[in-house]
Amino acid sequence: MSAYRTGDTLARRRFLTAAALRGATVIGTGALSASALSTGVLGTRVAGATGTTGVIGATALGAVDADAAFAAPIRPLDPAVAESAFAEGRIAAINGDVLEVAGSYGDHSRVRITGATSVWKGRATTAADIETGDGLYARGLPLPDGTLATDAVWVNIVNLHATIRGIERTRLHLAHGQHEIIGNLMAERTSAAYGDASPTADLSRLTIGQSAQVLGAWRPSDGSVDLVRVAVAPGAGRRR
């Protein structure tokens, strides 16, 4: 057990920051040529990386964005890598590290959270934030004991198409079909994407009547959605 694991968050982050800054600098976009990194431990991995699936943000086992929770599973090209499995549903019970998940289609799965599991619940967080009754989407590897050892868990994630019906300082009124949804704006966390531009904290170009693709975390308690990203078409501000 290293120092970074035993310290508090600040100490852990300080340790990891130093480790991160000691790393090699890689410049540019797109696939890496083998010579871009110094020959070393990365060598064989780099060669494999040039033949990745082409899915932005994908790992050998699947994509990693919050959006990826809705993407089709990726079949690993490397035969040495086991095919990942998926689970979804509502958390019926939490037994230590294992979540009992009731699937949407009557199925049941046992999802194991490990120290290497990423947990998303509107933001990158820890397993302590997971509650009974939450919705879940998980990617991982099936273990012999029947549990799914998860690499990534997305809790209460929603990705829906909506129309902006009202804008307030702390929330958006959204319409999704016949349903009205309250979208909570989270300080320093909600971002907007205008057309193809990069996500920005500038929400001032959202207008009433706009169609938006909304990514967020659903709150089971009141049915509202904590907004993570509101993506609207370019030409924001045009009335429909």
Binding site: A19, R165, S198
Partner: protein, 321 residues
């Protein structure tokens, strides 16, 4: 006042029936929405329902014209009252037979059956009865009491608008738009924060990774974790995922973003992964250090520091530097 209301009823009723009738008769949405109405269920045929809706629209238009034009007879009013009673009966049936369906009342929006539909039908029935009892043409009554007539018509318009099939679109959204226009955009401050942030965090740009800075890390002071910068984490992750650095270690990464924090102009992104295969496989942490102020909008060739450390010991795994 009640006499004035009775005499003005033909005008108000025509204002209700005219647009509704025109919508059904000429609206392009009639054929599309007819199969979803309770009428289609009653007639067991969406096409027939569309035809009936169009005929009904024509009747409503004719009634509106008859209510507005001389000679003044009780007939159009009585016919409208009959129509209102028919609507109520139809709605009662629809409520029982197909509660989730659209009423087809205005043939514009897909409006599920609510109390508003019943209130509108009742208003047509009451308006028709009042119009049938009118003693003088509406234009004569309006000319005698112009101010009271204007107030009455306005009040009726407000009530009828509130009863419209889609109040959200009809008046709540325009009101909200108006409020935004008058009071300003409630989220205008987020634009200001975005614009000034780079100026208030000069360290961000100063320590951005130069191409040849792959050596020893600068002794960066640890600032408050998660310090505010203009670039959301989502934009940093987007930049990372398109970077060559990500491609170099994507085979090692297993988790999604586990943690992130800002530190002296850097943004550190932490992932978990597995390095090596078979029995030599071991859990690792994959760390990326990026310019906290960079995004795809500002940087074409992102410079990213990549580090892979053993998850248990914290020792570097890849000799990447």
């Amino acid at each position: 006042m009640s006499a004035l209301a009775r005499d003005l009823a033909p005008l108000v009723l025509a204002g209700v029936l005219g647009p509704a009738g025109a919508g059904k008769l000429f609206g392009r949405g009639t054929a599309r929405q007819a199969p979803r109405t309770a009428l289609a269920r009653l007639l067991r045929d969406g096409g027939r329902a569309a035809l009936v809706l169009r005929v009904l629209g024509a009747v409503e238009l004719l009634l509106a014209a008859a209510l507005l034009a001389p000679p003044t007879t009780p007939l159009p009013g009585a016919a409208a009252a009959l129509l209102g009673a028919g609507f109520l009966g139809y709605l009662g049936y629809a409520r029982a037979a197909a509660p989730g369906s659209s009423c087809g009342c205005t043939a514009r929006q897909e409006a599920p059956l609510t109390w508003r539909a019943f209130a509108r039908a009742a208003a047509v029935l009451a308006g028709g009865a009042a119009a049938a009892l009118a003693r003088q043409p509406w234009w004569t009554a309006a000319a005698r009491h112009p101010a009271a007539a204007a107030c009455l018509v306005l009040a009726a318009a407000v009530v009828l608008t509130a009863l419209s099939a889609n109040p959200e679109r009809r008046w709540r959204m325009p009101l909200r738009r108006l409020r935004l226009r008058i009071a300003g955009h409630p989220l205008a401050a987020t634009a200001t924060a975005t614009a000034v942030a780079p100026a208030t965090t000069p360290a961000t740009t100063q320590v951005a990774v130069p191409p040849d800075a792959a050596g020893a890390p600068p002794p960066v002071p640890l600032t408050a974790a998660g310090a505010r910068t203009a670039v959301p984490v989502a934009a940093t992750v987007e930049l990372l995922e398109r970077s060559r650095a990500w491609q170099s270690v994507s085979r090692v990464v297993r988790s999604a973003l586990m943690d992130h924090w800002d530190d002296g102009g850097w943004r550190i992104l932490q992932f978990a992964g597995v390095y090596g295969g078979g029995t030599a496989a071991r859990p690792v942490l994959v760390l990326f250090a990026m310019d906290a102020a960079a995004s795809l909008d500002t940087v074409r060739e992102p410079a990213v520091r990549v580090s892979v450390i053993d998850a248990d010991s914290g020792a570097p795994v890849m000799a990447t530097a």
